[in-house]
Amino acid sequence: MILQNLVWTIALAGMSLVALGFIHVIRQAGKPADDVATRKAAHTSNVLRRWLFGAMLVIFVGATWATLHRFPIASQHAALDIQQVVDVTGQQWSWQITPNTVRAGSPVEFRVTSKDVNHGFAIYAPDGRIAAQTQAMPGFTNKLVHTFTQPGTYRVMCLEYCGLGHAPMVSEFTVVAARGG
């Protein structure tokens, strides 16, 4: 499943759950309870709160482990021993991408920097979705490692506002099929 679709589904589900909770309470908010019912509701509320705390704790631990046990960003300070290296430089308002052809199936290390202001180096896959990104910052080189699975023409767009020519600051590179693929 495309990550963006998964995130969108989780967000809609989570927001809907919150909305359902509110709708339930709102429907009851205008109906007064007697003392016995109030005490019972308070007890139920405390039990539910403990369950909610437990559920959130499980989600906290589970999501942390699932998303961080393999850190999603390459080491920035050690040599990466990656064969395909692409140098990327942003400047108002163009990209220099050298070389502009890479091969699918093996990792590519993008070394991304900027000559002037902050830019955002975002790789758009042929389906129009972002595949990966990092910031292009003057004085720093960020190493973005990505393994392409689909050959095709990938579009690079700037995702950090950089002045008048921000939107048209677009480039492309080609991903060719993996050897033997």
Binding site: I10, M15, F22, V25, A122, L159, L164, P168
Partner: protein, 499 residues
């Protein structure tokens, strides 16, 4: 119990207090409408329904961002002042100084943007302000940053006055936060939630404003002496530390209205608890440490920094869901809540805050941020909890106050129509942003790819409804505030004075 009196004597607005409160509120609602109109113009431009040239678009975006953040700060400062002065002695001059500094700062921003052409957005991300490429000069950037400094100094004056007043009553800020009761001891049931929340805001936002002041002064020096270059990563880190805390402070100042007013409308006490104190103590730390989630794509930062951003983003959900939202819902459950505008707005605000946090937390995940950072997912989640969370908190107090002036709690047919228009518009507007983010539509672009304009059009329709709703609220509140005060309490039955 005094807390359940609808309009306690110590919250009465008279003389200078009334004039100052009116100035804050009327300015805020007028600015909200204007800034929303700017937002609508941008969305319609992206939808290709309106021709907006890129240079104008980015100037509008700069004004909209700075204007909305500043106005949210102005409105929620009025909320904090309104309730805090009932517990400690605040000086009116400090409150008015903040307002005057805000106006002076706003004048600088408007001049820099619409006269000098500044278009480096509200984030003034170094070194863009001095790289206008002929569209604006470093002088324009300097005027813009000077405007920020003036607004920040005004806020500091207000916070420092509030801090001094709190310390005078409670001894120190720790005791005002209730730290002495975190592990043991009998909590003083009269310890005001307003004081706890205000103290948290003072601690965190003073730190944030000072960080902002440091980077603003550094940037100003660079604007006039370009040979004194800054470290771009350090500047960005300080900017986001400041920006994140400033906008978050508006939530924590705004929610004071919910804590103070909700029990009056539900007729049910909303007592302070150890869980509440823990949540605010933890939030004080979290809101100060969570800002690295804005810097997850800056790989040059240490790994622990990014991990902290993710973990604290996750952790920040606990106090919001388990204490504020859950506590408020428990308070109104089967409580014979009176559905008038203030209570409706308070419930909406809690929903907006809690639901808006869901996409925010998701985006605070490093792996997710790799594909969502700087897409429209980001304005999607922050508009959700600002438009449907913070703004309704401030509006709830405004409607509450005009209820006293009118002699009846606000609940007219027009009110009952205006709120759904605002709510439905807000949902369409924010969900269109989130959907666009999920489709990888970039944020902050004057022109969009043809395949992106579908969500722009839907968002524009939502924005129109929001503007309509807000325009109604602004007129209603302004007229209500300028009305002569009614004598006595509004007649709304026993729930108003229960206890």
């Amino acid at each position: 119990m005094a807390a359940l009196t609808m309009y306690p004597e110590n919250e009465r607005l008279a003389g200078g207090n009334r004039a100052a409160f009116n100035l804050y509120v009327i300015s805020a609602v007028a600015l909200f409408v204007l800034m929303m109109l700017l937002g609508l113009i941008m969305r319609m431009g992206q939808a290709t329904w309106l021709a907006v040239q890129p240079d104008l678009f980015y100037r509008i975006l700069s004004m909209h961002g700075a204007g909305m953040v500043g106005t949210a700060g102005l409105a929620t400062t009025a909320v904090m002042w309104f309730f805090l002065r009932a517990h400690v002695r605040l000086h009116l001059w400090a409150f008015v100084t903040n307002y005057v500094m805000f106006l002076l700062g706003a004048a600088c921003l408007i001049y820099a943007i619409f006269v000098d052409g500044y278009g480096a957005l509200w984030t003034f991300l170094y070194p863009l302000p001095v790289h206008g490429m002929g569209l604006w000069s470093p002088d324009a950037a300097a005027v813009f940053m000077l405007g920020y400094l003036l607004i920040g100094v005004g806020m500091l004056v207000f916070y420092l006055d509030a801090a001094a007043a709190i310390i005078k009553v409670y001894g120190n800020l720790g005791r005002a936060l209730g730290l002495q009761w975190l592990f043991r001891g009998t909590i003083d049931p009269d310890h005001p939630k307003t004081v706890v929340a205000s103290t948290m805001v003072i601690i965190s936002n003073v730190l944030g404003i000072l960080a902002g002041a440091v980077v603003l002064v550094m940037s100003l020096v660079n604007a006039f002496y370009p040979e004194m270059a800054l470290d771009a990563l350090l500047a960005k880190t300080l900017i986001y530390w400041f920006g994140h805390m400033y906008i978050n402070a508006t939530i924590y100042m705004g929610v004071i209205a919910v804590y103070a007013l909700l029990p009056r409308y539900s007729g049910r006490p909303y007592p302070i608890s150890r869980a509440f104190l823990w949540s605010w103590a933890v939030s004080t730390v979290f809101v100060t440490l969570v800002f690295p989630h804005h810097l997850l794509m800056d790989y040059a930062l240490p790994r622990w920094f990014a991990v902290m951003g993710q973990l604290v983003s996750y952790g920040a959900g606990f106090p919001v869901f388990l204490v504020t939202m859950y506590g408020a819902l428990t308070n109104i459950y089967r409580a014979n809540l009176r559905w008038t505008m203030p209570s409706r707005l308070m419930v909406l605000s809690l929903f907006g805050w809690a639901a808006g946090i869901v996409p925010a937390i998701l985006d605070g995940t490093i792996r997710v941020n790799l594909v969502m950072h700087n897409t429209q997912w980001v304005p999607g989640h922050f508009h959700f909890y600002l438009l449907l969370g913070v703004l309704p908190m401030a509006l709830a107090l405004m409607f509450h106050v005009i209820g006293q002036r009118a002699g009846a709690l606000p609940n007219s047919a027009a009110d009952r129509l205006g709120l759904p228009v605002y709510l439905i518009g807000g949902l369409i507007f924010t969900l269109a942003f989130l959907d666009a983010g999920h489709l990888s539509v970039a944020r902050r672009m004057a022109t969009h790819l043809p395949e992106w304009t579908g969500t722009d059009k839907v968002g524009s329709i939502g924005a129109m409804l929001v503007v309509l709703g807000m325009l109604y609220f602004a007129v209603r509140i302004t007229v209500g505030l300028l009305r002569a005060p009614a004598r006595g309490e509004p007649d709304e039955g026993p729930a108003n004075t229960a206890g």
